[in-house]
Every structure is written in C-alpha cells, then in structure tokens.
Subunit: 559 residues, 2 copies
C-alpha cells in the first residue's frame, strides 16, 4: 500500500490515499468525509436560502466554506490551513470541463448564434482591451504601493487573471427566461472570455516577455486565432462523430446506458484531445456540447435524453458548488498571509486599485463595443439599450475560480508562493474574488430589477420564443419540409439571393438563414437531429412530461 505524503488539499490525491487497508494517513479520509458532508450541507442550505431571493447559492457555498475554514483553523491551532489549499489541476481537469460542457449543451443555440458577433466582440476584443488597461494600471500603480519586484510578464498575467469573468456565477444570477438577450450576451461572453483568458495566459507564459513590442502583440493575436479556430473545429468534429456513431449504430437497440456512456466519454474525449494537441479544452468542450445538443441528443431514446439533460446539469452543479466551497475554504491560507510583507494601507491601496481597474477595464470595452454591435444590427428591437449595457458591464464584474486557478499557476510552485510579492498577488486575488462574488454578485439581482424594470418587456428582447422547447414547436414542421424539398432536388432558395446587400447591415441573420438551409439539407440527414431519427416519435410525450412537472424548467433548472 503506497502511502505517500500527499498535499491533502488536492482531492484526487486525498482519494488516492484512501486505501483499503488502515493507513497512517487517516486524516486524508477525514478531509474527504468533511468535504463530501459539506457538499451535502451546501445543497440543502442552498435550497433553503433560495427563499431569500437575493442570496445566491454561490454565496452560500463560499460562506459555508469560509466558516469551515475557520473551524478547521481554530481546532488545528492554525496548522491545517494548508489542508484546504486550492488546487488548480483539480479545477482544470475535473471541475471546469463538466461546467463548460453543460453550458454548451444547455445554451439556447438560436439566441447564442444570433448574437454571435456581439459575443465574439465582447469575449475576444473585450478581453484584449481589458487586459491592456489592467496591465497598464497595475504596472503604473503597483510599484508605488510596495510591490516592486514584479516583471512585465507578471503584470500581463495579472491583467489576464483579472479579466477572466466568472461565467459560473453569472449563470446563477441571470435567468435565461427572464432576459434572454442579456443572458445570451453575458453568458456567451463569459464562456468565450474564459477560453480567451486561458489561451492568452498561456501565450503570455510561453513568450516569457521581458519587454513588450508590437511584434509580440501580433504573435499573441496570431497564436490566439489559431488556437481558437482549431479548438472549435475539434469540438465540432467530435460532436458530429458522436452523432454519426449513435445514429448509425443505433446503440439503444441493446442498451440505453451505452448511448449515455458514449456521449459522456466522447465529451471528455474532446477535452482531453484538445489538451493532447495543446489546444483550448474549454472552447473545444463548449462547442462539442453545442453540437451534441443539436444532433446527438436527438438521436438517442427519450430516457437517454432526460438522463443526459439532467445528468450533465447535475455534474455541472456539483462541480460549481465544489468550486465555491473550495474558494471559501481557501481564503484562510495563513501561510500566504504570513508571507505578505506590505503594510495594511498599501494592501488596501492595491485592493482598491484593482477594483477600480476592473470596473474601468470592463466599461472601456462594453460601451464602445455595444455601440459597434448596435451599428451593425438593422432592426431596432435587437439593439442593446443603454440600460442593458449597464447590466452587461455589471454582470461581468465577478471574478471566480478561473482567476484563482490562473493566479496559483503564475505565482506559486507546488502550492507555495515563490516570493513575498507573489504571496501578496495570491492573497489579493483571493480577496478580489471573494469581494466581487459576494458584493457584485449579491447586488446584481436587485440592480437588474432597478435598472431593467422601468423598461418595457419588448425592450428586453422578448420577441424570440422563451425556451428551446417553445422554439421546437414553433418551427417543428420546417426542418421536415426543408428535408423533403432537399430530397426532391429543390433546396430552399429564398434567403440566399439578396445575400450581399443584407450582409453589410445584418451579417449574423444572413449567416443564420444560410446555416439553417445547409443544416436541414445536408447536416441533419447525415448526423440526425430533430425530425431525422426513425424512432423519435415522442415529441408529445415530451411536452406532456414538461407540463406534468412545472417545478423545473427543463433547460434551465436552477432559476
């Protein structure tokens, strides 16, 4: 029985230590038991807290983690703080993939792709702007506040760390059904933003900059674009492969579990293959999720559909709760706090500097890019109003586990801070994350009511149907019609003709229409999808099913 001395904070290492024979390392089992018990408590408490409308589940989890951290710290007389240390590998390998995959799987595709251009503007260009502002601000202010030994690479890393929006927390605050346009913009941006941040962060680390030239900016951009494109293609390819295999082999003939297993494993395969090819696993698994929900999900039995829908959501939910619990427990890492060698005044100064930089860095791209996006949209009811711009600005201020993970990656080695400056950077990151999640996060819902309530419902972009289910019934006959027109050799020619004229004013609409006829004519017959699977005869059953359970909205279970 190999009982290594393990860093107990890393759960997989803890579990590896839980052998079948009695071990000297029984503390590890205690830690896992504590953690699993806390997870249960979080779910139960989170449910009870939901009565108080403004306390989000993430705040509950952070608070519970924080309290447990204090108890552990007190009972162990300050020795065990290291036990609860954040582990970025655990985060990136186990916790993030299910969250992002589920996000892609449950996202309203129509809404997402209709706002694709705006999402990309916010999620890619926006991050570049934000990184530039935060990096410049840090480089200017930090030496004046006692942090002198950081190099340009560290400042760039800080810029990236504090530009990574917490998409997980955004999901808990906004509601897909109440404000679909806002949700799709903020959430879509969050996912792309996560990927952009991680990719940028890698690019920055790879170049190991001592100085900063225009050539290197171009290099970063080029490398970013290449990564973005390849990751997307890989995710789409694996999603299509899963749809094709399940459609062709008709796995449910022998076992419905096999379908679910194949979907789950292929989703993870997309992530791990992206890592294998040095791509962005986050982007890959996100697009794999989108493709799987568009094709694969319609090729499986009704039981498999219910199971995957809720199973993936549950995995994501557990991972989210785990992360917030973790972040809360991690705030009390006394070793790092003891290493920090700057005065409380300077510390407060650093903290406020970063808060201001985050606020300014986000404002600097949300308002100009919204204007640009509005300029490109033809119809006035899909334009982003000023009130909505304020909400987009505000909802993206939260910083979460991605920031902490990147900070640990940059400023620690094996979990220990490399220097007093780095310890300060870590503790400030944790502080900013806790502050933004609790203060910004808790204030979002009241603010949204205050800012958006005076506006009419139509201004919120309510013109599109509320759920993919509604959407399904609204145009249920369309794919069938188009499918048959394709078979008789006359593909739907309408929207393609005056393409060039409309392209300049409303590029995403024309892309959407073109995609629809391509999808119905070529993709669905090959890869399956709604209306193209022989044993998909249960649309009505499905509708009854939803009507019978008003307790949960099928595609956004946590309101």
């Amino acid at each position: 029985m190999a009982m290594r001395a393990l860093p107990v904070g890393s759960l997989h290492s803890i579990m590896a230590a839980v052998g079948i024979v009695d071990s000297g390392n029984h503390m590890a089992v205690v830690a896992v038991s504590l953690f699993v018990t806390l997870l249960c408590a979080c779910i139960v408490l989170g449910h009870m807290m939901e009565e108080f409308q403004y306390i989000s589940e993430s705040v509950t989890a952070i608070f519970l983690g924080f309290c447990t951290g204090i108890v552990v710290l007190v009972t162990s007389s300050g020795a065990s703080s290291h036990v609860l240390q954040f582990n970025e590998e655990l985060f990136f390998i186990y916790l993030l993939p299910p969250i992002i995959f589920n996000a892609g799987f449950q996202v309203k595709k129509k809404s997402f792709f209709r706002n694709f251009v705006a999402i990309m503007l916010f999620g890619v260009i926006g991050v570049f702007i934000s990184v530039a502002i935060i990096t410049a601000g840090c480089k200017f202010m930090f030496p004046k506040l006692g942090l002198e030994k950081l190099v340009i690479g560290d400042y760039l890393a800080l810029g990236t760390i504090f530009s990574a929006t917490d998409s997980v927390c955004v999901l808990q605050v906004l509601n897909q059904d109440d404000s679909p346009l806002l949700y799709s913009l903020v959430f879509g941006e969050g996912v792309v933003n996560d990927a952009t941040s991680v990719v940028l962060f890698r690019a920055v680390q790879k170049l190991a900059l001592k100085h900063f030239t225009g050539m290197e900016v171009l290099q970063i951009c080029g490398s970013f674009l290449q990564l973005f494109f390849s990751s997307t293609v890989l995710g789409v390819a694996i999603g299509l492969l899963s749809a094709y295999i399940i459609k062709t082999l008709y796995l449910a003939r022998h076992s419905t579990d096999r379908e679910i297993a194949l979907m789950t494993i292929m989703a993870y395969l997309s992530y791990i293959l992206a890592e294998l090819f040095y791509l962005s696993g986050i982007l890959t698994v996100f697009f794999c999720g989108i493709v799987m929900s568009h094709y694969t999900w319609h090729n499986v039995t009704e039981s498999s559909r219910v199971t995957t829908k809720h199973g993936f959501a549950t995995m994501s939910f557990i991972a989210e709760t785990f992360i917030f619990l973790y972040v809360g427990m991690d705030a009390l890492d006394v070793d790092k706090w003891n290493m920090v060698q700057i005065t409380a005044g300077n510390y407060f100064g650093l903290f406020m500097t970063l808060i201001v930089l985050i606020l300014v860095g986000r404002a600097a791209f949300v308002f100009p890019l919204s204007a640009l996006s509005n300029y490109m949209r033809k119809s006035s009811d899909t334009k982003i109003t000023f009130r909505q711009q304020i909400m987009i600005w505000w909802a993206g201020l939260m910083r979460g586990a991605v920031s902490i993970a990147l900070a640990f990656n940059q400023f620690t080695s094996s979990g220990d801070a490399k220097s007093p400056e780095y310890a300060a950077a870590i503790t400030i990151t944790i502080g900013i994350v806790l502050f933004s999640l609790t203060v910004f996060g808790t204030a979002t819902k009241p603010l949204m009511h205050w800012v958006l309530l005076p506006t009419s419902r139509s201004e919120l972009g309510e013109s599109e149907p509320n759920t993919p289910k509604d959407f399904a019934f609204a145009d249920f006959h369309v794919p069938l019609l188009l499918g048959s027109s394709q078979q008789t050799g006359s593909p739907h020619p309408g929207p393609r003709r005056s393409s060039l004229a409309v392209l300049l004013s409303a590029p995403s609409n024309i892309i959407h229409d073109g995609w629809r006829s391509f999808d119905d004519g070529y993709m669905r017959p090959l890869f399956g999808g709604r209306g193209f699977v022989p044993y998909n005869t249960d649309v009505l059953t499905n509708a009854e099913d939803d009507a019978a359970y008003p307790f949960h909205s099928p595609f956004h279970s946590r309101s």
Copy 2:
C-alpha cells in the same frame, strides 16, 4: 506548475499531470487520450459484438486492452509495460463504489430479500469454506512447485484472493428476467462475497499471522460479524437520511438537479464514511443503494427518477468497461514476468493447482449449502434444483478485478513486486483472472442453455413477477390502503399472529411479511416511498414511457 514524475498507470495521477500549461510530461496526456479513446472503442465494439450472443462485453474489453497492451509494448520496445500497470487505489476508490451502489440500486429487492438466507449462506459461510480449502491446498502444493518462501499470511491471502467472485462479470452473463432465482442468488452472493473477501483480507492482514490457531479464527469471525453489521447499519442510515431530507425539503420545488446531486453525493458519502470508520465501504454503499431505491427514488420527480436510474447504471457501466480494459492491458507487465524465477512446468503446475482448488473450493460449499437452504424452505417451487446448483457453482467461478486488486495489495509495494515469489503470485493471479473470465465466462451462457433448457419455466422460479415495474402495478393499492389504516390507528395485524409456528420452516417469508407491514405502517409514512409522496402522480406516464421504449428493460438495461 508542479510536474512530478508520476506513475503513469494511475489515471488520477495522470490527470493531475495534465496541467494548463505545456508540460514536459505530455506522455501522460497521450496515455489518458489513448485510454478514453479505447473506452469509446469498447462501447462501440461491445455493441457490435452483442450480435454474437456468446461473446460478452467484458471479454471484448479484455481483448481490446490486451491488443493495445501488445501494441504499446512493441512500439515502446518493451519499456512502457509499466505505464499500463493496475492501480488498486483507483479501483477501490473510483471504480468499485459506483458498480456496487448501482447493483444495490437496481437489484430486485423482493427477490434479494426472499433469498436472503441462502445468499448469506453462500456469500459468508461459503467464502470461509472456500478460503479454508484454497489456503490448505496452496500450503500443501506450492512448496512442491517451487514457491517455498511464502508464509501462512500469504497463503491465507491467496485463499481470500481466489475466493473473491467477480460479481461484475456475473451480471453480464446472467439475465435478471430469464432466470430471476438464479440471478438473485448468484448476484446477491457475488456482492456479499466481494465484501466478505475484502473484510476477511483486512482481518488477515491485520493479524499478521505467523501461525494459525482456533482463537484467531474466532477473532476473524468476530471482527467480520461486527464489520458486517456496522457497515449495513451505516448504509441503511444514510439511505434513510437522504430519503427524509428529500421528502421533507421537497428539493424539486427549486431544482430537479439538486435532488439528483444530493442522491449521488450521499451515496458517495456512505462509502467514504464507511472508510472513515474503518468499515466495509462496499457493503455500506450496497445497502445504501437498496434503501435509496426503496425510499428516496420514490420521493423525487419523474425526471430525476429516469436520470438516476440510467445515470447510475451508466456510471457503473463505464467503471466496468474501464476495469476490464485495465485488466487486459495489465496482463503484459513484463517487469513482473521477468522477475519470476520458476520453470514453465512448475508454473503450469501452480496454475492448474489453483484452477482445481477454485473448482473444488466452490463445489465444497455450493452443494452442501444448497441442501441446507432447501431444507429450510417449505414450498418445493422455491427450492434450488440440482441443475440450478450446477449453474450457481459454475457462475461463481470467475475471478476479476477484486482478486487482482487484493493481489497487488498483498504482493507489491508501490506497484513493484517485493520478491520473485511475490512476482509469481501476481502473474499467476492475472493469468487465473484472464483464464476464468474468458474460458469460464464465455462458457457460462451456452452451459446455462444446455443445463437449464430441459427444465420447465416454473422450475426456474418464474412465479414472481418479472420486473419491479410489474410488481408496482400488482400491489399498487396495497401501500395506500395500509397507509390509511395506519392513519386511523389500526395497523395491518394479519401476518404477525402465527409467526413462531411458521418461523421454523420458512423464516425468510415471515420476515418478509413482517417487514412489509412495518414498512407500510411506519417507514413509508416517514421516509416516503411508492404511494407516499404528494406529487407522485405519474405512474401512468411512467408506464407509457416504458411501453414506448421497448428497446430497454428499465431495470436491467444491458441484456
């Protein structure tokens, strides 16, 4: 980025090595990708192989793993054999719990408890008999065949290792609907047997015997009984707690995912708490599964029910496939084969000795204990016929991952064999497992047809309804009636009166009836269950659902 030199065979360590920055340890990512790809291939191939009735999925997975092992060995010129080494911690912490939990969750409770006495006889007394025979046989034969340096503790360990039936493989060969009595006996025995073997193994290791006295046998028995009882109580307690929480808090009001998450996490909690208190996690999680399927499962929404039913089955399915793939790849551990210092003739002798001992050791308890069980059963149609006894004997001959895990635990430290004798013991264990799974496993289905086909259907114990679903409709009104009678203060008194007289001839039936009235009168009103949940109005929907999908039987998805 902490990039430790990791034992690559352990998947969680591999994954820990898959960081977000480029690592020198990219081989680890390659290994995970390979493994995940193989899992996909196993599922697809397993599906296609199902056309050939007699090739079970486990054999496909072993074969695929074996071929991959050869390819890796050849391409790496013999160096990489260690990459694919079996990791017992991974097995016991990640792979076994979902399999055993799902077994408890999907088992036909009525069948299981009706045959409870017989199952306990086979699974507990049987293992003791088998261990005694194999230990004695090894102690007598092994020194004559070149293995001289083993002590009594090693022989006892070998006895335990080769008494652990592979319940996973049994599930794949037998069918719950075709032969319910056989299935329930063989499978029930398999689960209890797993737990007994592990508990016995621990007891043997703890005592660190140099000689062997009656006192120590008593000690082992006492420690075993205590463990068995405590583990069961813990599992039942956590299962009931989950039912109570979900019934009282009515989690689905806000989120159906929260119910599923709570069920999953509490199931794992039962396992990890058992480990915390040095109990048998396997037994605990098995009984937790039984209680959850009896109470908790009826307290959740229909969506949650479908999701947990298929979700747990899928997790179990993936874990099973993983194990067999692993066992197949592990057969080619050249390091250990090189360490073995005995002649091929002796090796063959050892191998045949063990095969004979396994056959004899199992026969020595199946036939006498079946006779004992028949003696205790009153009605002739629930007696175990001689043909069925042959099948029980045969179906339990397979040795699987539990044997390998225990062998690694006893004979290696950190994956390396401690001595040439120990290397021999490991390689022989792997050989026996492969042989028994492929030869005994593949022969079981044809044998079952040949032995059982001449018997009439009634002799197979077909008198009870086929699925829990049927059972549900057969007595759907009973719990409601009983529940109301309990509310008006007159609990169902019938079966309790003449208890003592019947108890001697048919103890399990009387226990069953007594339990039923206790369950309906006290347990269901408190913990929920079929017919006791306010929003459980979907029995008909459920029935339609099953009728609409004839492709899978709801409680035993892989036929």
